[in-house]
Symmetry: D2
Subunit: 301 residues, 4 copies
């Protein structure tokens, strides 16, 4: 299949490569010339504008967006819409908020253009191992894209699927990331307890390796954690600072909106906020309160 890939950053470039490897034709677009040239080396053609990209594709067209969620996605879509024709398909493969997806799909649908949302997991490993794809959208549109999904996924018939109507793909990916936060936090807390039990002098990497085989907690995240612990057992030089890219927040919002108690996913997000708050007003005030009622000494800064 011939398709246009918009956004040739780490994710977009890798996905384009994986498609090329499997025999698809990819026309790449990215505002950075270097990114376009890099992809060309893997067999793609490229376009230096959205207009050129659309012109290079046979109708009905398939356009796959792999750009940062939020404003950049809106700008790309706004520029793209007037260039397309009924029957074309637009896929948003990024980490968009599903509510934005619902809004955007409505707009494209009004022009007869199918809008498909594809939650994509797999990170930097997807190029070689394949991507897990959670797809939302019209059944016929998803079916037309089958050859693409079969190439991107780890296997022809697994690791991808239509989960429901448009929006449901990004919704499912959002929840996926919420779960990911919880799992990561559980592992990190556990290894931290092991680390602090100095009386036993435990080798954290060794334990991770044991757990990787046969244990109830074995997982791909554990494989990666074992790697990280092998490379840098004491996490030397790494700041205790954990970023978040939005999906965790949305999961928490959604859980509350749905009245679903999600204490562990929520707390995992809060822990990330906490990691970035190294001058906690909350804790200072607590210390001041203890001094007020009990005369307990305050630790000075």
């Amino acid at each position: 299949m011939k398709l246009g890939m918009i956004g040739l950053g780490r994710m977009g470039a890798n996905m384009a490569q994986r498609l090329l490897r499997d025999g698809h034709e990819v026309v790449g677009f990215d505002p950075q010339a270097a990114a376009r040239q890099a992809l060309e080396k893997h067999g793609a053609t490229s376009a230096d504008s959205l207009e050129a990209l659309v012109a290079a594709l046979p109708a009905p067209r398939v356009l796959w967006l792999m750009v940062p969620a939020g404003e950049v996605t809106d700008q790309s879509l706004d520029a793209l819409l007037p260039l397309l024709a009924p029957g074309d398909i637009v896929v948003d493969g990024g980490n968009s908020n599903y509510k934005d997806t619902l809004r955007r799909a409505k707009q494209f649908d009004a022009h007869g253009i199918a809008y498909v949302d594809c939650g994509t997991s797999g990170g930097v490993w997807g190029l070689d191992e394949g991507y897990s794809l959670m797809i939302g959208g019209d059944e016929a549109a998803v079916e037309r894209l089958r050859p693409v999904f079969e190439s991107l996924a780890p296997a022809r018939d697994s690791g991808w699927g239509r989960v429901g109507p448009v929006g449901s793909g990004h919704f499912t990916k959002m929840v996926h990331n919420g779960i990911e936060y919880g799992m990561m936090q559980a592992y990190a807390e556990g290894f931290s307890i092991l680390k602090h039990k100095t009386a036993f002098g435990l080798d954290l990497h060794g334990i991770a390796e044991i757990w990787r085989h046969g244990s109830v907690v074995r997982s791909w995240l554990l494989d990666l954690t074992a790697d990280a612990l092998q490379k840098n057992p004491d996490m030397a030089g790494i700041a205790p600072y954990v970023a978040d890219s939005g999906e965790g927040r949305w999961t928490v919002d959604e859980a509350i909106e749905l009245n679903v108690p999600a204490p562990v996913i929520t707390q995992s997000l809060i822990e990330r906020l906490r990691s970035r708050d190294d001058d906690s007003f909350t804790d200072k005030l607590l210390s001041a309160m203890r001094n007020e009622f009990g005369g307990h000494p305050i630790k000075k800064e």
Copy 2:
């Protein structure tokens, strides 16, 4: 009533003073001569050994311990036991773990000595405002001590009471402190949210003052928080470091043992641990994991 006060630190000295003010005779003991002399200025006599203390009291004796929980309490009690006689009463007014209290009471009971546990709240304010006293022990022993409790409490007939058999006083105080942790954390989080809403430029002390009158969150802790915010609105010079003195941990242990979910009290304790962990291995490992699967940048230390 004439009684011996063992331990003339901040709490013991204040309680002794409050008893003296109300006409009781207090013989004070403390290993520090300065502490004994300070109390004498308020009208007490003092003893420079436990032997001398016991000798100075009329039988049946009343000995009130106000020493740090744990080993110091055990050492004091071990030294005291051989000096006492059946009919004497020992009161532990400190923050002992109720399980220790049960063990110690058994030992004293075997010698015919009544053991009474008195959970004491009120901090540095108790001298003037009176102490809230949660008392466990034999009914007759508690009744004999009535004049003492009436003087220590904020009022003759309120702010003190026998809550159950020996151990139940410290148990109740332990839970009291668990609740205290939760309330403090709730206030501190709330004020922190207000603080971070910089667009509104809120005056935290002013808000605390408004809340002190007529609001649902008014409380004595809020009064103290208002004081703290007035003195030091930005908590300048205070480290974000919150100590804990044990009762919170015991409350969490007990809740788990009783199968009672106590998420907020538990989390309040965990937040204190967190405040002291400024080099979190958990967070470093989380950052490393994110780098492993998604190539997300690690913040360097």
Copy 3:
């Protein structure tokens, strides 16, 4: 001062009465004739339409809204706006989301009408004890309303205040309620631990009474809790079901938006959601998982 009170439900009627008691003139409006008549008995006049209400007030007018947050507030304001003139003041005394307040204020401001938000705490007790009032809005408008605030608050010069620009009153009230959730949960967990320690046979009401005097956890909420425990020590006939009216959710949202960790306020909200989920899919799935990996028995429904 003469003012119009829109919404004569429990809160509005009580606030109108408190104003009447202090010599203000109140014209009440409510779609329910019975509510209007009830207020008239306390010395108010009433209007059977917003038009009549506005006509009954001297310019520049003061209109105080005490209606349910959300749609009802929007409907009332939409109906009111065309009836007003530059210089009039509208006060929203309800539990509106501060983001709605910002939006509404902009609209009224464009017509030269001052918009004031007044977060109001005090519940059913406010009529006699006074209300805690957190006020946002233009300084001059707030100053004009001074006589009203002085009558509603517990005292002339305390329990009320301008906390910042429009929106900040509702923002502060929102955080107030978040704190309230955390405090309530802390008390409830603590009493539950006491309750489950059956070996001690503790009298929960008695303990609450002791704590009310001199303890660190004394508060108005504790006074009410003591009342509740006296009336119904075993909470007989009460379902373990806790409603929430929105401010807790908004506080959680806001904390996340501001990157402020608020674990205890957040968990208190989650516990309320949990109380209403008596058929938890989460727990069922956990039970099924345990069976899958360990052959652990599943409890049947």
Copy 4:
């Protein structure tokens, strides 16, 4: 190698079988004759008393305990100790608390008997897939047992290892289970959010299958969750009741003792307690409080 297996329940019998399959000689002991006979069918011999078991083994003996943690383990060990001789090895493969293990090891060590603790993960799947073995104890003793570990583990050279001195095996297994609680809770919350998003009509089993391939949350637990969701998508007939077998509690205790914040592991345990508390006093009291201050209606039981 010839060894004695004490305890032929689900875990012990499966482990014995796996050893038999790999050429070891197993003498089984269990108080239940049926359990002994069942194992004999797989090629083991058996003994009907600990005395007979010990007599059937060549010195120095290897005895492997696979009995319930706690009292049963203590009783077995007490009965075994007088029958053994210096140079023998006792392995506790159960889920013992590591503090008990330290105590027991000291006792056996005093008699010249090596005590090895082996945390064992793998559940009912271990027979075919092998067990993950976290081993604590003297290096020489562990080395002597190498052939046994190589047979029990998923592969000769992986899935098992000595993690440190005696006690460290059970410690590591305890933390493993704590992590397991957190992971399970994260998945269960996530699937519950998906379930409650009824607008999308999501197929939970289908999503689990997609995630199993290529996603960041892929794991063995997810494989099992997919199975469970396939068999019973709505968890029909399953009570929302989640048991716990102790290791989670110990992990929480240990984290607090070590001052390591472990909010997600802790909350996962609390959620299990919550699942069994379908008549929450906490929630009833919260409902009563809301009624007290705000006149909010109470839901009746």
